[in-house]
Amino acid sequence: MNSNQGKLKPSSSELDLDRPNIEDYLPSGASIQEPHGKLRLSDLLDISPILTEAAGAIVDDSFTRCFKSNSPEPWNWNVYLFPLWCSGVVFRYLILFPARAIVLTIGWIIFLSCFIPVHFLLKGNDALRKKLERVLVELICSFFVASWTGVVKYHGPRPSMRPKQVFVANHTSMIDFIILEQMTAFAVIMQKHPGWVGLLQSTILESVGCIWFNRSEAKDREIVAKKLRDHSQGADNNPLLIFPEGTCVNNQYSVMFKKGAFELGCTVCPIAIKYNKIFVDAFWNSRKQSFTMHLLQLMTSWAVVCDVWYLEPQNLRPGETAIEFAERVRDIISVRAGLRKVPWDGYLKYSRPSPKHRERKQQSFAESVLRRLEEK
């Protein structure tokens, strides 16, 4: 279940509207100082600044850094440590893993034997059914978390069920959702996945209220925006959880937040999630593994240790645009979770940057040439 490895297509113009000026963020190591004086042949032929920028991007770029999974330093390289590590492996695969698999299976049995009757028998009594389903979803998520020995420390006041509020969090893996869901039954907006995950999405998650989107469809954004708005206005619905980055990032950086969550006219409650890498790298590199492999990897590691901070709710300030609001909240979350901010749209994983950026560079060069032509 990997995301498209095929051709990249140019991003739709709709994705442009989201971004503030990237030029403000890009490293201007080869800062093209405004040249003066009459235009000479050497000025036209000297393309060194632009070449330097290109080479700089080839050697290192902030976007790729966001999606690099850092393999931990191997520590099993000596005669004493190696057997220790081996016994660790044996313990993890032959004892921990089966135990966890059993716990998970028990959890599923309990869950299904309660959920199915509740779902069908209480069809008439909606309020009670919803309440029970909420509790059951929280329950199965707790079982999931237990199956990787998740040690989660929650900080801050627990989310409350109030209308006109949405929750936003940074995104590292699909397990973010499970970790948050075990504490509070959120409604979430997700990419529809194929396979068994998709099945879970359409059956169980429907009960807590979920919204689906499809990254590859351009028109999808408006439809989803409307669904988000409708959901957040409803008093009865579970609080909405949104991951504004739109893609999984490696928990050391944060990419640009999409403004959709910030223009619903609701209070935005930021949540910061930070995983402790000593135990396992929880980043789901969807280009490299399927979700199933990712889960198996988690279930055969020692533990998943993370911190969750529920941060102070934010409102749109007078005179602030949705993009500025999104950036401000991204700042709050990044500071709390120790993430470095980069100015890239997460969707650039799946599509090319818009030609607008190149055009801006071309325009400034053209203007400088024309201006200097006039000078004597």
């Binding site: 190591g29 000479r40 050497s42 393309i47 060069f365």
Partner: protein, 175 residues
């Protein structure tokens, strides 16, 4: 699941270092190798044009297509040689040679008026008309003592660019 592709041996590193005329230190070559493997997602031993273009910072560069023609499908040794012009240890001559190669797309050692016009077009896009571009280029060429029909060779480039204080360096991040 980090990129633990085949490790570089000391012998490999020295070979690459020799090939690029010691433009990079051994540490830098190891870093470049990590980067190369990171870009080479398909693991084919070379980085394809698609893989280069998936770096947004590279894709928005006006000269990305020209550079792609030079760097597409290179193996690691050639990749390092390509980047050697950007090392702080590279001489001015080497840097000017690189720029010359960017212009000389057919590789015959001569840069024509059209080659220069092509690069200028890449750099200015739709913001200057073709007629104006031709005019500007002709004008500065004549002022420098050439004509529209002149074929510039490397020594011409050295003469033109040699005194302009060329700064063309990138830093290879070494952990």
């Amino acid at each position: 699941m980090g990129n633990s592709s085949s490790m570089l041996t000391q012998y490999d590193i020295e070979e690459v270092q020799q090939h690029c005329n010691n433009a990079f230190s051994q540490q830098e070559i190891v870093s470049l190798y990590e980067r190369f493997c990171q870009l080479d997602r398909s693991g084919g031993g070379f980085v394809s044009a698609e893989e280069f273009l998936s770096v947004p910072e590279f894709a928005v560069n006006p000269l990305s297509q020209r550079l792609l023609r030079m760097v597409d499908g290179l193996n690691f040794k050639e990749f390092v040689a390509f980047l050697s012009a950007f090392s702080p240890r590279a001489t001015l001559q080497q840097k000017i040679e690189f720029i010359f190669k960017v212009y000389d797309s057919d590789g015959n050692g001569k840069v024509t008026f059209n080659d220069m016009l092509d690069v200028l077009r890449d750099l200015t896009g739709q913001f200057i008309s073709e007629k104006q571009r031709t005019q500007v280029l002709t004008q500065v060429l004549e002022e420098a003592g050439y004509t529209k029909e002149s074929l510039l060779v490397l020594s011409d480039f050295v003469k033109i660019l040699g005194s302009s204080g060329l700064k063309m360096e990138v830093e290879v991040p070494v952990d």
